[in-house]
């Protein structure tokens, strides 16, 4: 079970309160977690990564275990603490704009 924390705007969009818990088949990677997230909450498609290229949107960042995973390969294994559910994957909207 993978735990994911969404930014506030996307919690409202997905109509969830608090953290999301996902079952991910196979190895837990950013790609597999986002695939599972979008399958459960289709309204999130396009908000975190491009529909076609699957590139992360520039103002979206991924953190876990106090590490910035935003520039990791989407197919790299997530830290064990995230894969085991001990720590959540944090999806964060960059602090920018007005």
């Amino acid at each position: 079970m993978i735990r994911v924390e969404l930014p506030a705007h996307l919690r409202i969009l997905a109509r969830v309160a608090g953290e999301v818990q996902l079952e991910v088949e196979g190895q837990a990677t950013l790609r597999s977690v986002l695939d599972a997230l979008e399958a459960r909450y289709p309204m999130l498609r396009g908000t975190l990564r491009d529909h076609v290229t699957e590139q992360r949107r520039p103002f979206v960042r991924f953190f876990a275990n106090a590490e910035d995973l935003s520039h990791e390969s989407p197919d790299a294994p997530l830290p064990e603490a995230v894969a085991s559910g001990a720590e959540p994957l944090l999806i964060i909207g960059a602090i920018a704009g007005g």
Partner: protein
């Protein structure tokens, strides 16, 4: 009894303002989608409770929201806007070739005949259509691909397709406008397009009378006369009596011929409204006086409408999608400002009062006349 419902898009959410036919007391609902930019909200003329809203931010991109109950509740629908084929390039500000990139939906135009069909005008400029109530979107690629696309360039606000007009007498006939490419017309439901910019003169482009490249800010039509079009161009207010084949300037005695909005009285096809704005970088009303100008002669002769509008120290702008008219017996006129005011006139512009004063900057205003 008839009612008016005003749909307001702002920099930080959408608002729905409702009143009875007197249009004196208003209920304000919102913000819907607080914190998101709402470029446009518009209702279906076939089913007025069917609304579509364009919701976006720089963080999370583009969403489309749909309501089936007049804006009380909303559901996100399809947001996948993918250009047809290889997108190609348009001109960048410096004249170099720049790849087409989707940024946002500026304008949503529901079909006149089918509540599930809706058009979307997007940045970088292209026209999309959904025939399943917004679930999926397909580009009408004949517009971008008709040949002049590599010569289009962005205006200061981006290269946006911001106006979509449907001919009520001929469902295959559609007009659109792009900043800064110009106006285009389709006679076959959007498959093929023709630029309709003859008569426009833009001193700021290398060839002032070029086929494309004009910064058209808005075009408007009265539904009873689809061959008569009115245009607020970057500079110049223009009129066409032949469906856009040729244009003539009708700026007349306006204090400045720059502005963004233009609209037509619901019952008087020769009565039109504009809000002159000081160009080119100031973008606020001349002399700090917020004045709507009305022509009852289809242009050239204009009168300022000031009653109820601030006549000193007013430095707001009125953006291109931020004026609308209702079709109650006494035509109502509405506009929103970048200062967050939405003004309404229940007497075709003779007098004005703010419905709300302190919204976020207003991006768009539409009105529905409900029975």
């Amino acid at each position: 009894m008839s009612k008016a419902r005003v749909l307001v898009g702002t920099r930080k959410g959408a608002f729905v303002l409702t009143s009875d036919g007197k249009r004196e007391k208003w209920d304000v609902s919102g913000p819907h989608f607080g914190g998101w930019e709402i470029y446009h909200v518009k209702g279906s003329p076939v089913n007025p409770d069917r609304l579509y809203a364009s919701q976006s931010t720089g963080w999370y991109g583009q969403l489309i929201q749909r309501s089936n109950d007049g804006g009380k509740t909303w559901e996100p629908v399809g947001n996948k806007f993918v250009y047809d084929g290889v997108p190609g390039t348009h001109q960048w500000y410096d004249g170099t070739a720049h790849p087409w990139e989707f940024k946002r939906v500026w304008h949503l135009e529901p079909s006149l005949t089918d509540a599930d069909t809706v058009y979307a005008g997007v940045e970088d400029a292209a026209l999309f259509r959904s025939t399943d109530a917004g679930q999926t979107w397909q580009e009408l690629a004949g517009l971008r691909g008709h040949g002049s696309g590599p010569r289009w360039q962005p205006g200061a606000g981006g290269m946006c397709l911001h106006t979509i007009l449907q001919d009520p007498s001929d469902p295959a006939r559609i007009f659109i406008a792009i900043s800064a490419a110009g106006a285009f017309r389709s006679e076959d439901g959007g498959l093929t397009w023709k630029p309709i910019n003859r008569g426009l003169r833009s001193q700021y482009i290398p060839d002032p009378t070029a086929e494309v490249g004009h910064c058209v800010h808005r075009i408007a039509m009265h539904r009873s006369r689809p061959n008569v079009l009115f245009m607020q161009k970057h500079w110049d207010v223009m009129r066409s009596d032949d469906g856009g084949d040729s244009w003539n300037e009708v700026s007349g005695n306006l204090p400045t011929d720059f502005g963004f909005v233009i609209d037509v009285h619901a019952h008087e096809p020769e009565t039109i409204f504009v809000v002159p704005i000081k160009s080119d970088s100031e973008h606020f009303p001349p002399e700090g006086k917020l004045r709507v100008y009305r022509s009852r002669t289809g242009g050239n002769e204009w009168e300022p409408l000031t009653k109820g509008l601030p006549q000193s120290d007013c430095y707001v702008n009125v953006l291109r999608d931020a004026m609308a008219v209702d079709s109650l017996d006494q035509c109502g006129v509405y506009f929103g400002t970048t200062g967050g005011q939405v003004y309404a006139s229940a007497d075709a512009g003779d007098s004005w009062a703010p419905i709300v004063r302190d919204l976020p900057a207003v991006l768009s205003v539409e009105v529905q006349t409900l029975s």
